[in-house]
Symmetry: none
Subunit: 420 residues, 2 copies
């Protein structure tokens, strides 16, 4: 039998074509296939529609060695996966005596008679191999078509997963290329997507000539850029070795703009740095409204380095709790580097810790002025008596300004700690 | 121009073919299309692969009047959507002077020179209409092909959404069938999915007989249950009228467990209640680490009712800032109703406002005891001198415990305010 080198996934169910549901089965299936060296060429969602499904199956059989269909194996009229596959293969559906027997026993065990309609679940295209379903009535099917394979899995995740696991360990493993696809995610801040891309271009060219080659995809989201690196090799360790070299290249090019070489969140990497340096932090937040501290405390074990935080939303609270002089707020404005600095120093002193962070800004949509438009944020990091201050200007809605401000504050501290 | 009667969506990006990312843009697009009476015949995900994308476009152009492509419009080599569309249409790509000009101005406004690579974003297939992008560099495109239409939208949601909204109001509306599918989301807390389902069953039966009928789908997520109601009618107002009646039925059955009749977040509804009652709030957070206050301050205008908050992560900070007696912590433990109550009272007094919230718990993964396992959270709401306290037990990972605790605290306050 020849090895399967590429795959496609079809999720079946009209509910998956509404705005209410997203197909997540395909993520689990992709993970299992990738581990066996099977990359995805595409995936699709189709409704409970025999013709549309047949059309999609034909489309993918032109592109992939393996097509995994998920869903539409139930007993009702709108479960049409078996029929659509039979149409495409031009093979008749026949009742499988073994399945029919097991279905009847399943109902009998509950003291009930199987409704006639459920016999549909025993219909299989000629030549199909039945995959047992321990957790439901719909069996899966494995169908060889020349050197290609179509696999039908049930839609409910709790029925699909054990069937997939068994397949991955047995039938699919036997047809795998023997190649492993391995991934690494490098996370970057302080650069735009196109700046990162431009700096990395020469590396892309070099990597594509490696044996095995390393492929890169760049992905920007709010306040950060992710580089997804992947390599495929007969042994996972070989793929891992070239990826490690590629990661070194990224760090050599982007320097301290790289904050994680294994896809960790900024707060996780910062937490590890704080633990390593034995330092504790306290935060005075205004426009971020607690988000910085919430992110810091998302990390297990963060109670070792987060002492307290104060969300000083009113000016009075800045004065009362952080000792920011009232006249300073009047003279410079609540959103100013001077106030951010006083907040950072105030919360550090109040908590009796080494590090204080102070953030004040205009999250919007109201409160902007020509001088300090919505998105203006002053950030201060006090490390002992040494205070660093910066003013940034973020674009976007209120929640986006909040997130970017939190990202910038955490990143400012990370860079300070790297210099120590 | 003939009406568009069916649609398909293609999400483009190799990262969407990994186990790491799921395409959610298509949900928002589906919602907008459904509103215009355009059902989806299918959707697909393809990688950054010109041939595969062209193949998929051809596939959907055989089935749907409208194909919406999302992503792959960036400036880099792996952004191939423009090229693939040009391949399928057999039309050349030309530089659009207007786009090129706007791109240069955008970079100039930031005091930077546009990298040469970004000129790719100005290339458009002949005959395409340019859709302005206010939030990024990638313009969208509308391309008529006989009576069919291909629309290209940028991948980043914050750029895609406003462009989609404009399209839905203008070009797409002009080509719609005249049937409107309207949805309402009713949000519920304090009941499980199956409890909600059981209570609502009789309504479902009644609604299905209405003209037009109302359909309901139930969707559970962390700490809440959403009821999605939909109706289709020639006039949107007719669909809205039956939906309004159905919403009344839901409220009659579920009472104050309904916290929003129009899909708003709990913090938005709570904020409106606080404004209506003219009350201000201060929060003392331990295990939630600032999340409650961050959620409260996600709402525009929340500075009217959020005075301050204290994240008292250490025991010392509970004593120093909130006046929680040290011996109380020793006697009852930091996670206890007595401490939650003292925190709520302490922060209310310290802030000089009407309402104090205190939350203390074990977010995990460590710190659990047989007596107070991971997920145990004590919540107190002080309204004037009247304090309500409860202990809850949440399942799941650290971030899930944090979220559920924040949800329970906000909901406890909401119910208190409803009783006033």
């Amino acid at each position: 039998m020849s090895a399967l080198a590429s795959a496609a996934i079809v999720a079946i169910g009209s509910e998956l074509l509404t705005p209410l549901r997203v197909d997540t089965n395909s993520l689990v299936i992709t993970e299992a296939l990738n581990r066996l060296g099977l990359p995805l060429v595409g995936k699709a969602v189709v409704g409970d529609d025999r013709q549309a499904l047949a059309h999609t199956l034909r489309h993918f059989l032109q592109q992939a060695d393996l097509v995994v269909c998920c869903g539409g194996l139930g007993p009702t009229d709108d479960d049409v996966t078996r029929e659509a596959v039979a149409d495409v293969l031009e093979r008749p559906l026949r009742e499988d005596a073994g399945i029919a027997q097991r279905l009847r026993e399943r109902w009998a065990a509950r003291g009930e008679t199987m409704p006639e309609i459920n016999r549909r679940q025993a219909m299989v295209p000629e030549g199909a191999v039945v995959l047992a379903n321990d957790r439901g009535t719909a069996p899966g099917l494995w169908i060889d078509i020349g050197r290609q394979v179509v696999v039908l899995l049930p839609g409910p995740p709790r029925e699909m997963r054990p069937m997939l696991d068994r397949l991955a360990g047995e039938r699919l493993a036997a047809r795998a290329t023997g190649l492993s696809l391995v991934r690494r995610i490098v996370r970057v801040t302080g650069r735009t997507e196109s700046q990162t891309e431009e700096s990395m271009q020469p590396c892309y060219r070099t990597w594509s000539g490696w044996q095995p080659p390393v492929w890169a995809t760049i992905l920007a989201s709010l306040g950060q850029v992710d580089l997804h690196l992947s390599a495929t090799a007969p042994r996972a360790t070989d793929a891992e070795a070239v990826l490690a070299q590629a990661v070194d290249d990224v760090v050599a090019v982007l320097g301290s703009d790289v904050y994680s070489i294994d896809g960790q969140a900024l707060e996780v990497e910062l937490g590890a740095l704080l633990v390593r340096r034995g330092l504790r932090v306290a935060v005075a937040e205004s426009c971020t409204g607690g988000l910085i501290t919430s992110r810091l405390t998302d990390v297990p074990g963060s109670s070792r380095y987060v002492e307290r935080s104060i969300v000083s939303y009113s000016n009075l609270s800045k004065t009362e709790l952080l000792g920011v002089p009232e006249r300073l707020i009047r003279a410079e404005g609540a959103v100013s580097e001077a106030v951010a600095r006083a907040m950072a120093e105030g919360v550090r002193r109040c908590a009796g810790v080494e590090i204080g962070i102070g953030v004040t800004g205009v999250a919007g949509p109201d409160g902007g002025t020509p001088d300090k438009p919505v998105g203006t944020v002053a950030i201060a990091v006090a490390l002992g008596d040494d205070v660093q201050v910066a003013t940034r200007r973020f674009l976007g809605e209120r929640d986006m300004v909040k997130f970017q401000a939190s990202q910038a504050a955490l990143d400012m501290l990370r860079r300070r700690l790297l210099e120590m």
